[in-house]
Symmetry: D3
Subunit: 117 residues, 6 copies
């Protein structure tokens, strides 16, 4: 993993552990529910992750975008499919999405280098 | 069409005509771009419409939700697929999405009655 | 209940039933979690409902505001406490909160008339 | 005034009076500050109202859009200037702005009919 | 104070001074109003700071969350109360709140170390 | 340019090139449309850039704020005009705008030093 992705992953893991250990039941259930929501059902995992990605993009949450991009890449989403998903996010959410799009494409390039690496 | 859907469609059509006739070139181009974005590419039309639907839901735009639901229905999205898309929108966007979810399910029932009707 | 509040309550109940019957497990769990979150813990129910109210107000969700106001009223929140909660929502969220504040105060007056009965 | 604009104006006035009479000092000060912000300074009133309009549009607050359109019309904003302001709002805020744009153009037509009245 | 908190505090203080010196009367009044809003009234300071915290969290403003957490800590808010406030923010605002929740819990741990320190 | 502004400019340019080379037609058209929207029309460029700035501020997009501030500075916007635009953004968007206001004023000071430099 690149440094930026690695840092994201480590902080995410460390804080998720810390949060779940704190023992607030509602937060624990939310985290469990969050995972279940992207499991295969009538829609397959890839489609659900694309839904999570575009929702994260229009709400302009960089960490959420990174997370769903990692998962999408694992599910075999191609560069062309990523860009079409981004185009929906851009048109729905407007030019304020652009800075997040730039960072998303930077993440995409890091994920591609790792896959090749 | 039900009365509510019919009223939405009429106002939408009348105002879109009015807006495009006003002659602002940027707005005209945005409307054209908005349509193109959901055309088939690496992702099929159904997937793109689901992306538009979930993005509209987390941004809590009832009219956008209605529009993409009509299009999704035309693309053969099933009730189970609608609800899975809604579940992603709900988990990503939180309980403030619930009032829009209620109205979306009401719209779904109207669309189903029309399809049967 | 006033007509407006009654209509809100009826639509809310009817659609919640419809949604829960649809059988999407994630949505059902989200609804259950949503209820649990406002139960007494380290913070009492009144404080949690005030938190839900101000969060709904800054996110400008009228139905959520109405719901939490009904619950706050049941928990004995006074008019002065309502207005102080509104003032936090207004200062945090800005003048775009004002239309929602107007509707919230209208709801407050309806709730007061009902209480006086 | 058209029925829709008249209804908006009446509810706005009635609730503003009600809110200011409630005696919450912070809310009163916010309302006073809100008015002062659009007074002439280094920028003229028309420019400030256009700023208020585009901010209201990207935040998708219909009542705020209506209020600033009434004020812009009083300051002599032309239809072409309105549409250029809308185009900035649309491009910055994306397609979720479109339903608000439709209602804004409907309001514009009502304001024009009154002016011709 | 930890480095991160110290950096936040310094930049905040330096820029607040710079902004207030610039002499824009509306901004000065807004800053004064912002402070007043959290003073004791019908609701006590602790409750008002919790309201400010949850509002900041659902609007996903990290700096605002940090500020209100510092104030809440000063008002004696316990870890359990913090987590219950976070749980309301998470359920209302959805999974996009999670990255902000992670950073908030990191801030909480820094505040606890300082208090012990 | 200051280091921070220089870094922003470089990343922006590099990623814009990368995005446009990727060949997604909708994204390319959106970028072209985004540029056109701020060209002179019934409203002059300075006014349009101020509209873009206030819209970016209330939507709390730091990179968008920086971009429009650079353009506004080129169009001769004075410090007083910047602050009045900020005051509209602050009153419309509320105290959650303040962290972005702090960073915007920091950017303003960097732009002024460069202009003098």
């Amino acid at each position: 993993m690149s440094d930026k992705l690695e840092e994201f992953r480590k902080f995410r893991e460390r804080m998720n552990d810390r949060i779940l250990e704190a023992g607030n039941l509602e937060i624990k259930r939310f985290f469990a529910l969050d995972s279940r929501t992207y499991e295969a059902g009538a829609l397959d995992v890839k489609t659900k992750e694309l839904l999570g990605l575009v929702a994260s993009m229009v709400l302009r949450c960089d960490d959420c975008v990174t997370y769903h991009m990692v998962r999408c890449k694992e599910e075999g989403v191609t560069e062309e499919e990523f860009f079409e998903t981004f185009s929906v996010g851009l048109v729905v959410g407007g030019s304020i999405v652009i800075p997040h799009l730039r960072r998303a494409v930077d993440t995409l390039d890091q994920l591609s280098r790792e896959a090749e690496g």
